[in-house]
């Protein structure tokens, strides 16, 4: 099966920033992303868990974007503008995709 080179960018970000991040991505021309839930974690600011929480403040989500390599920089600039002063981890991996015309 024919596969094509792409980049998988996984951004772990505070839930209250989610809409700002996806808006920034859209503005940077990134139309495809998938949001997955996060139930807890640990970092320099301590351990946290979503259990029993009512508000969105104390939680994070992951936004996963798969894009062509040449568009990576635009995406990272957009993501960085949002993540900058906030908690959040940006992790980029090389990957292969089927149906390259979709990206």
């Amino acid at each position: 099966m024919e596969t094509h080179q792409a980049k998988r960018v996984e951004i772990t970000i505070e839930a209250p920033m989610e809409r700002r991040l996806t808006d920034a991505l859209q503005n940077a021309g990134v139309q495809g992303y998938t949001i997955t839930p996060v139930v807890g974690g640990s970092g320099r600011s301590g351990v946290w868990s979503r259990e029993g929480q009512v508000g969105r403040a104390g939680g994070m989500v992951q936004v996963i974007c798969i894009i062509r390599p040449e568009r990576l920089d635009a995406l990272l600039d957009a993501a960085f503008s949002v993540v900058d002063r906030h908690m959040g981890v940006v992790c980029i991996t090389d990957c292969q995709v089927l149906r390259a015309e979709r990206f």
């Binding site: 700002r20 259990e51 929480q53 009512v54 403040a57």
Partner: protein, 326 residues
């Protein structure tokens, strides 16, 4: 005085308070007891809907009296002004920097709807009626405090991420929309509407509140366990002194606008209570440098249980004494 102690004792051994205590205990003991996030959110949707609706019905029943508008304005001003008081107290009592102090202050200008509910049920048990529109006052008090907090920071030439998107988010945040929306539904459908859904929003209300407070106890206990180190003595003192001061300001405002005894007590409770849902989310966006461990632990771990247990009976006692005397 005896009456107050009895009331306080009675309050302390209610299933609601004990459920909160159970949650705190379970969290501190590192039990794996947890309420799923979706269930906790569902409980809070139920509570906001029921509270708003009943407030609306009560206004539909008793009519809108002249102090409604005054009360709303008082709420707006209190919510905007209390953070200044809180900021001042924090600067005296703690060594928090401006950003953290402002973030905490914002929480204390805003309100805790569960504390408000606990206040109404203490009043109910004591047979004291109150203005139904106090729910609307609670709603208007949610947001202005956030703006005050951001102003406190920007005054110090610090950078805040305030923008129109955030302003819309604050004003249209889920709990405000649900509370106000349910209030209007109650107002429009009135007693007839209430009759249809009474056995859902009235009868089981106290029981649902127990489970919700169990969850809040778990969250507060987990917060306390993890953030013990951030809570210096000064901050702890603030968590108890601030609600008392807030209540006094609320008392003054309530008397000035001529609320009933019950209404005055509820305004005191609103002023004394601190937010732990809407304001934290706004702070994460606008003041990311502020440490959530500080403001959440203070608001949910110190002030919330203080108000719930002894704060409310004290406010009721003071209001009774002052109004009886005048």
């Amino acid at each position: 005085m005896d009456g107050i102690l009895a009331l306080a004792a009675d309050n302390l051994i209610s299933p609601i308070i004990l459920s909160f205590a159970l949650g705190v205990f379970a969290a501190l003991a590192r039990s794996d007891l947890t309420v799923p996030e979706a269930a906790a959110k569902a409980l809070s949707i139920y509570l906001l809907f029921a509270i708003g609706f009943k407030g609306g019905v009560s206004v539909a029943d008793h009519g809108i009296d002249g102090t409604l508008a005054l009360s709303l304005i008082a709420g707006l001003i209190l919510s905007g002004a209390l953070p200044l008081l809180a900021f001042f107290l924090l600067k005296i009592l703690t060594k928090l920097d401006t950003t953290n102090a402002a973030a905490v202050a914002g929480h204390y200008g805003s309100i805790s709807i569960v504390t408000f509910v606990a206040g109404t049920s203490v009043l109910q048990n004591a047979g004291i009626s109150s203005e139904g529109y106090m729910v609307a006052v609670a709603a208007v008090m949610e947001a202005p405090a956030i703006l005050s907090a951001l102003w406190l920071v920007s005054r110090g030439a610090k950078n805040t991420d305030m923008d129109s998107a955030l302003l819309r988010e604050i004003l249209l945040n889920g709990s405000i929309v649900l509370l106000v929306g349910a209030f209007f539904i109650g107002l429009i459908t009135g007693a007839e509407g209430l009759a249809r859904i009474e056995s859902f929003i009235v009868a089981p209300f106290q029981g649902v509140l127990c489970l919700f407070l169990l969850d809040m106890g778990l969250v507060a206990g987990r917060g306390l366990r993890r953030s013990r180190s951030v809570l210096k003595l000064g901050a702890l003192a603030f968590g108890i002194i601030m609600p008392l001061c807030g209540a006094m300001v609320g008392l003054g405002a309530g008397l000035a606008i001529g609320l009933s005894l019950g209404g005055v007590v509820l305004l005191m409770v609103l002023s004394a209570s601190a937010s732990y849902i809407a304001v934290p989310a706004a702070m994460r966006v606008a003041l990311p440098e502020a440490d959530p461990a500080i403001y959440l632990t203070l608001s949910l771990g110190v002030t919330f249980p203080f108000n719930l247990t002894i704060g409310i009976p004290i406010y009721l006692a003071i209001a009774t004494a002052v109004i009886g005397a005048s």
